[in-house]
Structure formats: structure tokens, C-alpha cells
Amino acid sequence: MPEEKLTSIREAIGMVPDGATVAIQNMATQSAPMAAVRELIRQGRTGLEVVALVGGIPIDLMAAARSMDRFTGAAVSMEQFGLCQAYRNAVESGEIVVQELSETALNARLGAGARNLPFLPTRGLIGTDLIAINPDLVMISDPFGGLDVVACRALIPDVALIHCHRADRFGNLQMDPTAVWPDIGIMPKAANKVIATVEEIVDTEVLRKSPERTFLPGFMVDAVVEVPFGAHPTSFNPRYGYDTAFHQEWIAVARDPEGAELWMERYIYEPDTQEEYLDRVGGVSRLEELKRWEITS
């Protein structure tokens, strides 16, 4: 028998030390491993470097909870819900340091990490101010006589946190057809450890019926946890849409540290289980609405 990877969210997140570099799946309002992010905050993790392509509400919550002091990625935005205010305040006051990368530069850093290379080059960013301020980006000449390129130093996150549609208890991970960002395409391959939450744990025989959906083999995965609606309030196509009211509720309090603290008590610190959390966000009726996507389209 392969090694069993099934565990609880508490034990899984217990593997992440203070100060770790944590790559999280996220694209503005999509597919973030929110149950894992809430647990990081519950456990009081500090000094994290968070890596994401385009971070949304998980970045704002971790900024508000002072879990992170570095962000590495291409952008932070909740798209239609606006800028992440807690994150923005923390950056403007110098509490969070940003390493801003273009998409190809982030992909190159992660790609080098995944393939055990010191760096990979890109032709993106040339002519911008983003190269000179970043010690992990260096202009180098082409050894074959062509144009200069930007060497992007390998990035190896300590852990990647991802949310997937299903897995077996051995950590073989499946995603249903949907948008696939680098956080699934390359991040978990670059990271030293992979912690996955999934909508459902299934028997391995279920995976065999659609092996084309399996994107990461169990031996690359360190922990797998069943968390239905684990990406809420972000969307998780095709299962459920993003939660507009919940995003707006957070935005209304995010600028005010006291309001944010009360909000986090209610939605992060107090609920002991995912069921309790889902009850607090509106229970079955809200979840049924989100499954229909109607209120988000």
C-alpha cells in the first residue's frame, strides 16, 4: 500500500513553520485554499512569505492577521470588489515587503525551482523599473549572441497550499476541467511540500475512471484533507461561484483594525470545524445559491 496522506486541517497546517515561504493557489476571486488559509491564521502563524500569481481575499486576511511580512507575485486585487485594503495599508506602512514579478518572471522563478535549475530566463520586464530593485532578477547576455535576457532566480516555496476537486487517501489529486493557473500548473511542483484540501475524498477506483483529470501524483503530496466548499468565498468552477455578499462584508470592515478583528473572530477564530464556518456564512441556502452561480453572473 502507498503511504496514507489523509489527515486533518489542523495537522496538515501544523507542518507549516513560522517564517515559511507559502505558495497559495489564487486568482483574484477564484480557487483559493481558504480553509487552509483560515487555519494558518487560527494557528497564529507569523512572518510568512506568501507567493501567489494574483492574490485576493486570502492575502488581505493574512495581512490583517499579521501572518505575513512578504508578498511575492504579480498582483493583489479582488477584481470587481476592489483593492485589498488591509494588504495595501500594510505595504504602505512598510510592514509587508513586496517582490513584484510579471507573470512570465514568476513562472520562470517557479519553473526553475521545479526543475532544479538556478534560474530560467524571460524577455518580459525589460525596460521596466522592476528589474533593478529586485535581487532575484538579473540581466544577462545570451551566450549564443542574441539579445539580453532577464535571469529569474529559482523560487522553491517551503509549502504549496492548493484546493482541488477530489483526491484519494494517498494524495493523488484531481481537478475537473476549469481555469488552470500556475498555482496548479507549476507551484506544487516547485514546492518542497504540498498540502491539498479537496472537495471530496474518493476511492482510487473513482480516479481510474478519469485519469486525465489527475494532475499531481500522490508521492508529491504530503497531506490531503477533505474540506467541502474549501475555497469559499472564492469561486471553484464548476462547483460553486464566488460569494459576493461575503466579499463585501469583509471590505466593509477591512480598513478598520477593530472591525476586522471582530469579523475574524466570527469567521476564522471561533468556528472549530468547516461545518460551523459554513453555518456562519449562511448555511445550506447560501451554499445552494453559490452552486447555481446565478448571483455571481
Binding site: G127, D129, T296
Partner: protein, 268 residues
């Protein structure tokens, strides 16, 4: 084709038709987040002069066919009904970086200077202690440097957006003007800027931003006042921007965006 001009067009529709006119039948186009004007322009082009235009919705969904423009230009309702989903790390960027495809990009920037350099990073002198932290460069930092033709849109033309010099270059435009881009080996570059007041292009030699046309009812003085640097204005009179046709207005209002999502770009 019905080319009767509309008499009740609005400026959102004018920006959409101006952007749509830059797209050809053989183009591929894609959009990013909060990009209602480009998304509607692509669909309009496809329904009128460029039926074979390939649209990669949200840089994910090939040839998407949304019933109507949804509240997000990044989420599944926009791209769910596509021919193919492009995986970002490999497929999407392989296609973009290849050099043969997706030659034109519609881009927005919080600040743009006289040479079309864009800033979506920080406002203020100190990058590490900014007055305002903006979202970040995302794909913009790539598009300015990899030979693409850039078409900027900005629904709020004002002196804080159009500045003498951007606080930080997060998208390479014509840099310091002249042949500075060429010297770095960069091809492509900014071509057109479409705002709620006017259309601007760049002088072929100096690369200085130049007034191309003003929208009906707007004066060149108003445009200059809303611009934080001296615009290049050639000749004694600047032409008016061509207004949308009755057909185009009908398609935008009734077929493509019946919920008026485009107005969100104007704070409505």
C-alpha cells in the same frame, strides 16, 4: 452593412467602437481582469467587421460565447462555454511568447506618461514605502517588453492618470522616446490611447503622445487641461472621433451587454 451613424451614442459606446476598430479579422485577442470595454469591443468586432477574430476570454477560454457580459471579466461565466481552456503556465504563455500570435493587447494603467510608459505598481517616490500601493504589474510587465502592440484605454482622463513622468515604470512604453526602445532590442510598443475625451497616438519619430481625434463635444483645450503634460497637437484643427453606428449601438446595448456592465468602468 448598415453604416448609419447613431445620434444617441454614449461615451462608453464610443470608446468600445474606437477600440473595436483597431482589431482585424485575423487577430487573436485576450482580456484581463475588470476589462469590460475590451471584452465588449472584441465581441462587437466579431459580430461586425471581424467575424473570425479569435478571443481568448480571461486568457483562459478559447472562442468563448458568453450569453451576456457578466459582473467579472475573469470568472467562469465569461469563459465557461469555450472551445478550449488554456493552461496558463504552459499553453497560454507559449502562445503569447511564440511571437506569431496575440500581437495586440488592450491594457489599462493607473498612470501613463507622454511616452506611453505605464505604472500599475506604486504612487510615490519610494517604491518600498509607497503613498499608494497599486495592484501590481501582472501581465503588463510582460506585454510591454515582448513585442506586442499596446492599445491603452482609460475611461477617466485626468492629470493624475496622464503624467509627465510615471512614478514607476511597470510597463515599458517608448521609454525616454526616440529610438530608446529599439536600442534595448524591444519591438512593438504603445500605439493608441483611447479615453473618455479623445484618441491619442504617438509621433513616429519622437514617440511623443499626440492627439489623434477628439470626441464630439470635447475641445482640444479640455483634453490638454485633463492631461498632466503637453500633448503634441499637429495642424490647426484636430479631427473628431468617428461615432458609433446605429447597428453597433444596438449590438452593444441589446445583444452583448444588456446589463450595462460597461458602465462600471465609469463608476456607475
Amino acid at each position: 452593412m448598415n453604416d448609419e451613424l447613431s445620434i444617441d451614442w454614449t461615451v462608453d459606446e464610443l470608446m468600445i467602437t474606437a477600440l473595436s476598430a483597431t482589431l482585424d479579422n485575423n487577430d487573436q485577442a485576450c482580456n484581463g481582469m475588470a476589462s469590460f470595454i475590451p471584452v465588449i469591443a472584441f465581441q462587437l468586432a466579431r459580430l461586425t467587421h471581424a467575424p473570425d477574430l479569435v478571443w481568448v476570454a480571461s486568457a483562459i477560454g478559447l472562442d468563448a460565447r458568453p450569453e451576456r457580459v457578466p459582473a467579472s471579466t475573469l470568472e467562469a461565466p465569461l469563459w465557461r462555454d469555450s472551445v478550449m481552456y488554456l493552461e496558463q503556465y504552459s499553453t497560454f504563455w507559449d502562445i503569447v511568447l511564440n511571437g506569431s500570435w496575440l500581437q495586440k493587447f488592450c491594457v489599462g494603467a493607473a498612470q501613463l506618461d507622454r511616452y506611453g510608459n505605464g505604472n500599475n505598481s506604486v504612487i510615490g517616490d519610494d517604491y518600498h514605502r509607497p503613498k499608494v500601493r497599486l495592484p501590481g504589474t501582472a501581465g503588463l510587465g510582460d506585454m510591454g517588453s515582448i513585442g506586442k502592440r499596446l492599445f491603452f484605454w482609460n475611461p477617466n482622463h485626468n492629470p493624475r492618470s496622464f503624467v509627465e513622468k510615471v512614478d514607476f515604470v511597470s510597463c515599458a512604453g517608448w521609454l525616454g522616446g526616440g529610438d530608446e526602445r529599439e536600442e534595448l532590442g524591444l519591438t512593438g510598443g504603445p500605439e493608441l490611447v483611447i479615453t473618455n475625451l479623445c484618441v491619442m497616438d504617438f509621433h513616429p519619430e519622437t514617440k511623443h503622445m499626440r492627439l489623434k481625434s477628439v470626441h464630439p463635444g470635447v475641445t482640444t483645450e479640455e483634453v490638454q487641461e485633463a492631461t498632466g503634460f503637453e500633448l503634441l497637437i499637429e495642424g490647426s484643427s484636430v479631427p473628431e472621433t468617428v461615432v458609433p453606428t446605429v447597428e453597433q449601438v444596438g449590438l452593444i446595448r441589446d445583444v452583448i451587454d444588456p446589463d450595462g456592465m460597461r458602465l462600471r468602468e465609469f463608476g456607475r
